[in-house]
Subunit: 418 residues, 2 copies
């Protein structure tokens, strides 16, 4: 069992409102078992369309997983379409019926007759009971292939897969497994990064290297398929270490840790505390610093000083300074960082002021102008930026950059201590 | 042209890390033109797999749209696969080559020879120039069908589709169009909502009604396919008006406006100003209130008072009050709302304090306990909540609920004025 195909069933997945997400965690699980996903499709709740999708998938893959369309309503025809294609009868499974009845009784809800349809099982199928819903998972073997039907709700699909389907697939999977490393980088362009590392990763032909620009920075995915797990780990670690050396401070983590996670960890480890005075980012930096458990250990407070008086009242920025340099200036960013650090009695203070747009820009200070300052024991540094894009992107990039400045400062502090 | 199929091309879309998102906005645009999407697939950067996917799609749909795989690298084989399937030659288009060269010159970057591949065009294709990237869109007609190739980056795909492909499709589409209304609801459960409105919407058989629970509340989608646009609008408006009457204050908008948009609009219209003191939500409420352009007109500031002293320093909460009732209490929430309102001199003040977890819970105040207060001219009200779920969900629900309390207050204020 080496190649899988995933079919997401549901007419709502062919509207502009909903994307299939089940296939992402299924792919993660399958890859860990050494099974590659070679094709995915989204098919409406329609017998003919489903039959065709199953037939085509069975031509391509050893394992076909379909999610959705197992519910009680007449729209739900996944099991009927598969039974018809395979020429199998659908039989009522009394144990499943019993479990569904039990579930309704437990929830103290009346069971409508259409729920009985969920107890229909294609001849010869293995039933994977559903402890968190009504429709069970079904495992069918035919034409030398395996077909797994899972309910659509992600929680149910995930649980049935992990607890019941995964062991069956694992027994059939070969010895080939996927091993992976994820490096995260912030502060380089995609082409700048590739330029810096391409020569190195191209020396490792057995490793597939993918560079992906995301909203949170650039990801370097190193993937290897191998029957020799220790050797795969060794070669991945070797390339990873070489990339780490090449990337220097731009490397956020070589372990998949995100920028927010690294900042939180470094703040905790160093015993630092931080407070933020933010204007154009409107609270995003504070929200990210508090997104992880335990943040109250290092985060004291954030002043979202969205008007000039609040910069003075909460962050102690002198009104004259704002009048003299304008609210969007390095001087004010520094005063915000130092003021909030003083006010919250923290070791570090961040100050962010800028113009997120679309209004408010001038020829001297166009939309996207942002000043970010970081204050510590030994004074404050401010840096000017000009971010492109719309309001949402400018706010996001400003927050991202502020957190990255904090990360680099903590990193240098750690290197000095060690 | 009534039926479309979308193929997302890219091996990275068959990993656990990336889902196809282009198909969502393409579906939105196609539906507006009266074209239904009947099938979607994700295919690797592989000539044989792509050829098969195109062949199967051309059996099912009038219009096949493929996104991705048009880049400069050897992995990018979408145009080659299509040309091979259709038995067409690939010819170099000098105008496209010229545009690519221009683009590199403009960006002052060297153009590597592999970029010339992006100027290859299947015989007989129409070229849709790409103003924001290098690979142009391509429109090919064959076998009585149309095929549209778009670059993978969403911004480029979106722009080429909207500006160049859409008019071509519109000319070919029938008179049947999709019309839609989107109602947003906050503060009801999915089943509670359905119970309230099912009897009414079931009277409209020509309208397809879908109720979707999302992170931002519940959406009611009313959809109708019709050749008679005025009649479709009339019947949609009729059902929409009846639902509005049934939903009362739980209705956020009948126009698709989000909670954040409605709050921003009502604050602006009423000339109100607001400030926030938030603890467990860590800045999320401030970030949402400042997410839209023009927010500086009504938002003065947010105090993310994540530690007790900051509640006192920034929001004027007496230390004794915190000692007496605990930081997570209605009394402190009210003091935060009133204090921040006073400090920022706004008409309204929000105070939010709670336990987002996973730590910090006690038998009396378990994780998920949140107190939200709203202060105005005529005093303050506080409400206690117990939200379920993990840290992220609790923070999100607390922010959502605080903004909804603000919305309801503004709504009542407007009703009293009118």
């Amino acid at each position: 069992m080496r190649l899988a195909e995933i079919i997401a069933v549901g007419s709502e997945l062919l509207t502009p409102f909903h994307a299939d997400t089940n296939s992402l965690f299924l792919t993660e699980e399958l890859n860990q078992l050494g099974v590659a996903v070679i094709h995915k499709s989204v098919v409406p709740d329609d017998r003919a369309a489903l039959g065709e999708a199953f037939a085509q998938a069975l031509e391509r893959a050893d394992l076909v997983i379909a999610t959705g369309g197992l519910g009680p309503t007449e729209d739900d025809v996944t099991r009927e379409a598969l039974a018809e294609l395979l020429g199998r009868r659908l039989l009522r499974d009394d144990r499943v019926l019993h479990q569904i009845r039990d579930r309704f009784a437990r929830l103290d809800r009346p069971m409508t007759p259409n729920n009985e349809r969920q107890a229909l099982v294609p001849e010869g199928a293995t039933v994977f009971p559903n402890d968190s819903g009504t429709a069970p998972g079904l495992w069918v073997e035919a034409r030398g292939r395996a077909i797994l039907l899972l309910p659509g709700p992600p929680g149910e699909a995930r649980r049935i897969f992990a607890e019941q389907a995964r062991p069956v697939i694992e027994r059939r999977a070969g010895n080939r497994r996927m091993a992976r490393r994820l490096l995260r980088v912030v502060g380089l362009s995609e082409s700048g990064l590739d330029h810096r590392v391409a020569e190195t990763y191209k020396q490792y032909e057995q490793i597939s290297t993918t560079i992906l620009a995301t909203r949170e920075g650039i990801e370097i995915h190193l993937t290897i398929w191998s029957e020799d797990a220790p050797e795969a780990a060794r070669v991945l670690d070797e390339l990873s270490a070489r990339l780490v050396a090449l990337l220097g401070e731009a490397l956020v983590s070589a372990t998949g840790e995100t920028l927010d996670e690294v900042v939180a960890r470094e703040l905790s480890l160093s015993g630092s505390t931080v407070a933020v005075a933010e204007s154009c980012t409107g609270g995003i930096v504070s929200a990210r610093l508090t997104s992880l458990p335990g943040s109250s250990l290092f985060f004291r407070g954030g002043a979202v000083s969205y008007s000039n008086p609040m910069k003075t009242i909460w962050a102690g920025v002198p009104a004259e300074l704002i009048e003299q340099h304008g609210a969007v200036s390095s001087e004010v960013a520094i005063a915000m960082a130092e003021g909030v650090r003083r006010s919250a009695e923290t070791t570090l203070g961040l100050g962010i002021t800028g113009i997120a747009g679309p209004g408010g820009g001038t020829p001297e200070k166009p939309v996207g102008t942002v000043h970010i300052a970081l204050a510590g024991e030994s004074g404050a540094e401010a840096r000017p930026f000009l971010f492109g894009g719309d309001r949402d992107r400018i706010r996001h990039l400003a927050a991202q950059t502020a957190l990255d400045m904090l990360r680099r400062r903590l990193l240098r502090g750690r290197n000095e201590r060690s």
